[in-house]
């Protein structure tokens, strides 16, 4: 099994990309907001962009090494790169798109069949649906016999239904693929379903790398907590006061965390006798949002004058809970996500 090792730095004006990770069989995800440098990292691996310094190795092949002045051409790197907008050759039919790469009619037919797109064989990309385009792009990528697969937000141009289907097809491709793969995404669910190891990118740096279980249970930073979907985050003072939320928390003794997070569906409704106790909010409802299968209640601690966006908390509950009944909410301190930075 080949290992992909990446350790690169690149400056683009004010922005500094600095990434170091390695991955082999375990599918690796780069999770981050847009502009965090995840696509740039992928482009550096593919040889589309050139890092300023560092190295990139795939198995025993050196793809880039600034100290030895090695920079293997993009076309010789054997990377399969799946683009967000498919990047099919628009002047060619699906068949020609694939056949131009493998130059083998039988293999092309076989790939078309594998992805169930024989019907599009004679169509040009403009006449195909998004899902069909992405399948052709997948087939074309496999036709080049890649040694590493890079997926750059491959679902972002697809609707929800097609997303689910193409995601499964990509999973099938990846599980039959004998090499490392890197997925770039901003969608925590997608990353959780598809990858084993998750690296969080923020402002050009890889700040948190963990296996996915650990990542969702104990994110290490505020940025990764937000990316795992944690909606409520506050700064903490030394004596355990949640300064954004405006309530006192009861923290385990010796806790030195600077921030705390709490997931929106872990709150518990309690009676008025709990008023003023630690970990209990006196709820002032600001708005109620009806979601498909849940009710989202946005609230703040009564009298909390903080202007911070984090002073507004989110409580997700069932459709049977009436927002008017939510007067006091207690959080379970053992479920707090404690963060150092």
């Amino acid at each position: 099994m080949k290992t992909l090792k990446v350790d690169i730095k690149k400056r683009c004006g004010e922005f500094i990309l600095s990434v170091k990770f390695e991955t082999s069989s375990d599918r690796f995800a780069l999770l981050g907001a847009s502009g965090s440098g995840k696509s740039m990292t992928l482009k550096c691996i593919a040889g589309i962009e050139k890092p300023d310094e560092g190295f990139i190795c795939l198995g025993d092949r050196v793809l880039f090494d600034s100290s030895k002045k090695i920079n293997v051409l993009c076309r010789e790197r054997k990377v399969g790169y799946l683009f967000q907008d498919y990047a099919l050759f628009p002047n060619m039919t699906a068949f020609e798109n694939i056949n131009l790469i493998c130059r083998d009619n039988a293999r092309t037919e076989e790939l078309l069949k594998k992805f169930n797109i024989e019907g599009c064989s004679a169509l040009k990309p403009a006449k195909m649906s998004g899902g069909q385009c992405q399948r052709v792009a997948l087939a074309r990528m496999l036709a080049s016999d890649p040694e590493v697969i890079l997926l750059d937000e491959p679902f972002s141009a697809l609707d929800n239904y097609m997303h689910t289907i193409i995601e499964r097809e990509i999973m099938d491709v990846l599980s039959g693929f004998d090499g490392p793969s890197v997925l770039v995404s901003h969608d925590r669910n997608e990353v959780y379903r598809m990858c084993g190891t998750i690296g969080v990118m923020d402002n050009g740096s890889l700040i948190d790398v963990q296996d996915k279980m650990g990542f969702f249970e104990h994110p290490a930073t505020v940025v990764s907590a937000r990316l795992t979907g944690c909606k409520n985050i506050t700064a903490l003072t030394a004596d355990g006061f949640a300064s954004d939320w405006g309530i006192q928390l009861e923290l385990p003794s010796g806790c030195s965390a600077k921030f705390a997070g709490y997931r929106a569906h872990f709150f518990e409704m309690v009676g008025a006798e709990q008023k003023g106790k630690p970990n209990v909010f006196e709820v002032e409802v600001e708005r109620v949002i009806e979601d498909t299968f849940s009710r989202v209640i946005c609230f703040r601690q009564k009298g909390n004058k903080s202007e911070s966006p984090d002073s507004l908390l989110t409580y997700i509950t069932g459709k049977d809970t009436d927002a008017g009944d939510v007067k006091f909410l207690r959080l379970d301190p053992s479920r707090l996500i404690l963060l150092e930075r």
């Binding site: 099919l88 060619m92 790469i101």
Partner: protein, 219 residues
């Protein structure tokens, strides 16, 4: 009326356009792939667009005249550019080059960069990407540049006059014929040539607007 200026103009424009198409395409492709020095090289290649025709004529004369390096090489083969229609074609080529080069460069730059990158990650060589992907995608723009550049050859006057002179039946083009007729006081002939030139240019420009690929891309 001697129609030879019409045929001479056509012959010169055709030769110049073929030459400029090949060089313009290769240089436009080269410049789009450049990482450094693009601004300067692009400016040098576009220079004939802004320099006075007399300056261009002067520069061509000193570089291909019988005392120049190129002129001496040509001389040893018994060939000559000054005062020949081939010389006029060189002048037309130099002057219409920026039109072709800039048009093709623009058309190539319009090609979706991700499609080109995809070609590279899939292992295609640069020339194959140009031939199989970029040229077909840029074809409407390239065709338009060819037509415009051909039309530009027609309007060439100053440099042609300096390099090829004004020899009736040999190097006298339509634009030079208008000038000669006016100089000779033959207004009627000048009117005729003006009418022919306007008609000829209109046909080319209407033809340009009717290119099917351009019509489709505008919809």
């Amino acid at each position: 009326m001697d129609l030879s200026p019409l045929w001479i103009t056509f012959k010169i424009s055709l030769a110049a356009t073929v030459f400029v198409f090949v060089t313009g395409l290769l240089l436009a492709w080269g410049v789009t792939n450049l990482k450094r020095g693009r601004a300067v090289i692009d400016a040098v290649l576009s220079l004939p667009l802004v320099l006075p025709p007399t300056v261009m004529g002067f520069l061509i004369l000193i570089s291909v005249g019988s005392n120049s390096f190129i002129g001496k090489i040509l001389d040893s083969f018994g060939a000559r550019l000054v005062f020949t229609w081939q010389g006029a074609a060189v002048a037309a080529a130099v002057v219409s080059f920026p039109v072709m080069y800039r048009g093709i460069r623009g058309a190539l730059e319009q090609v979706d960069i991700n499609v080109i990158r995809a070609g590279r990650t899939l292992g295609l060589g640069e020339f194959k990407i140009l031939r199989r992907v970029m040229l077909p995608m840029a074809a409407p723009g390239i065709l338009a540049s060819v037509v415009l550049s051909f039309a530009r050859c027609l309007g060439e006057f100053g440099a042609t006059l300096m390099v090829a002179g004004n020899i009736p039946g040999k190097t006298q083009t339509m634009s030079v014929a208008v000038y000669t007729a006016m100089q000779g006081g033959d207004r009627e002939l000048a009117y005729k040539w003006v009418a022919i030139i306007v008609a000829y240019s209109l046909i080319i420009l209407v033809g340009l607007n009717c290119l099917p690929s351009l019509r489709r891309s505008r919809r």
